[in-house]
Assembly symmetry: C2
Homo-oligomer: 150 residues x 2
């Protein structure tokens, strides 16, 4: 139940890019790396994947760089994570592209995983880059609540 380091860094980078959204200037990988503290080679790999997923627009050559393809309020955590890690699937049986669950047929729990998976993904999809770009979260008590489940 741990996020990969790459996904963690990707969120940090996207958040930094969202903060510079006012200026139309493109941000290159070097600048993003310096600003966030992420190692440069790793940052390069990440912006590549994020661009391939359509979350960033890339421009090559001198003066090139990256820019958010959408407003920060229209990009959520789930998208960023899926761009780096692939589809959010807690178990292999949820991932429709793979049918290699050893138990499969007789597994009585399988039907429930889809619901749990949706709940977790929903928790991530509920947070946008715009919220992450804000200075600090509100500390006034519990902000998150699951109302119904399964």
């Amino acid at each position: 139940m741990r996020l990969s380091s790459l996904a963690d860094y990707a969120v940090v980078i996207m958040s930094a890019a969202a903060r510079h959204c006012g200026g139309v200037a493109r941000l290159n990988a070097t600048t993003l790396a310096e600003e966030t503290g992420v190692p440069l080679p790793t940052a390069q790999k990440l912006v590549s994947r994020l661009a391939a997923a359509g979350l960033l627009e890339s421009a090559r050559g001198q003066g090139g760089g990256f820019r958010l393809s959408r407003p920060p309020s229209a990009i959520d955590l789930a998208e960023v994570i899926e761009a780096v890690e692939g589809p959010i699937a807690l178990t292999t049986c949820v991932d429709e592209a793979r049918h290699d669950c050893a138990l499969d047929g007789s597994c009585r729990v399988k039907p429930h995983w889809a619901i749990v998976n949706r709940a977790v993904r929903g928790a991530l999809a509920g947070v946008t880059l715009a919220q992450l770009a804000q200075a600090a979260p509100v500390h006034g008590g519990q902000q998150t609540k699951i109302v119904e489940i399964a």
Copy 2:
């Protein structure tokens, strides 16, 4: 964002144990392995960890085995997963036992992770073994919803 196979199997095993909760008879690792389809050695490793976490009560020697330490309705997914994988911490900076985040100090995103982490954990804590032991989930539309977030 993928659950480890061990955690997946642990949920399946605990769910099977919950289904046999009526009888007071203990279940040994072999029986649970046969019933769930989980490889025996792996099942042994899992029940050991689950017992160490206090979710199962173990009895050694001939005629021994395992039993749920609490009613199925009082054990949730988060507990099972944490027993196998350790604390649920999406990022290293959420895990209070570790302070080895390379970015740390200047990271602007860090404060938000705690909230996201709580939301994900809440989604898992909302599902009990009693619900998993039921035959099948209700398919009547979307059952899960995040009302407020960060």
